[in-house]
């Protein structure tokens, strides 16, 4: 077994283990860091496969993305610190069935499918070839991705605006009940007089 194989098996194990821990750990912040570890391990495997640009891009992208995710966890989640056990799932048996079925089906494709063996030729510069593709034949695809990202930014600003589509975004908003259909768990924010509601622009 070569060094490349050892690094691959270690990182494959890390990627799968960390991916599984994401949904098992009690702390939301820890969950987002486990997801980061899973992505980093996949990035290392990409580097082993000579996809240098993609592996490094995955490192940078995921490092930033998971920090944002951890921030959102702290902002929105109850129990972000993982001080008490937490399991918030629905239809878990169906979900396990779906996951196992997808793994078995895709694994069967991997085991029994016949794929040609055409490895990356010696001397191919993967970054150079990707750059020529992005700014050459596939420029339209690349630019479409850019325009789509711009449209996403506009949509995100629209969705997160205080002034919603049908009036104030948090008008009539009530916290959910402690049990389904129960009374709101807390007073609606209008009655609190909290500081963050003073900047209504009427």
């Amino acid at each position: 077994m070569s060094a490349v194989d050892i690094v691959f098996y270690v990182n494959a194990a890390i990627a799968i283990y960390a991916g599984w821990r994401v949904f098992v750990t009690d702390s939301m912040v820890r969950a987002s860091f486990f997801l980061l570890i899973s992505f980093l391990a996949v990035g290392v495997i990409m580097l082993l496969l000579a996809a240098i640009y993609l592996g490094v891009a995955l490192f940078f992208m995921m490092a930033v993305e998971m920090m944002v995710m951890a921030l959102f966890m702290v902002m929105f989640m109850m129990n972000p610190a993982g001080l008490n056990p937490m399991k918030m799932v629905h239809q878990e048996k169906v979900a396990i069935g779906v996951g196992v079925a997808a793994f078995l089906a895709l694994g069967a494709v991997a085991l029994f499918g016949e794929f040609p063996s055409r490895p990356v030729p010696e001397g191919l510069k993967p970054v150079v070839s990707l750059g020529h593709e992005l700014l050459g034949d596939s420029m339209l695809v690349f630019e479409s991705a850019g325009v789509t990202l711009l449209a996403t930014m506009i949509a995100v600003v629209m969705l997160t605006s205080h002034r919603g589509r049908f009036g104030d975004a948090n008008e009539g908003s009530q916290p959910p009940g402690l049990e389904p259909g129960g009374d709101p768990a807390d007073k609606p924010p209008e009655d609190e007089g909290g500081g963050h509601h003073h900047h209504h622009c009427h």
Binding site: F8, F72, H90, V98, A102, T160, N170, Q174
Partner: protein
Amino acid sequence: MTLVTLLIVAAALIGIGLYGAFSQQSFVMLMMGLELILNGAMLAAVSFWALTGGGAPEGQLLTIIAMAVMAIEMAMGFALVISVYRAKQADMTEALDGLKH
């Protein structure tokens, strides 16, 4: 490191991600499941590029597009979380049990 082992790792990541996306009640955890699915898909794309595609640059392009999809999914997901939180004071999928208009 053969194509079979790489694809089995990708299949495991996709399976775990599907479990997360189907089972989690919190929107942010649900998004983590979607991210894991995309993680597995990108790994499979890079494996095919490296071992059966003969280094055709379109294989890397596909992975770049998957990364763009991931960025869009994150941005839209967080925007929806904020939007749902404004409307329902919660970030659980069960909070959305009716239509407003």
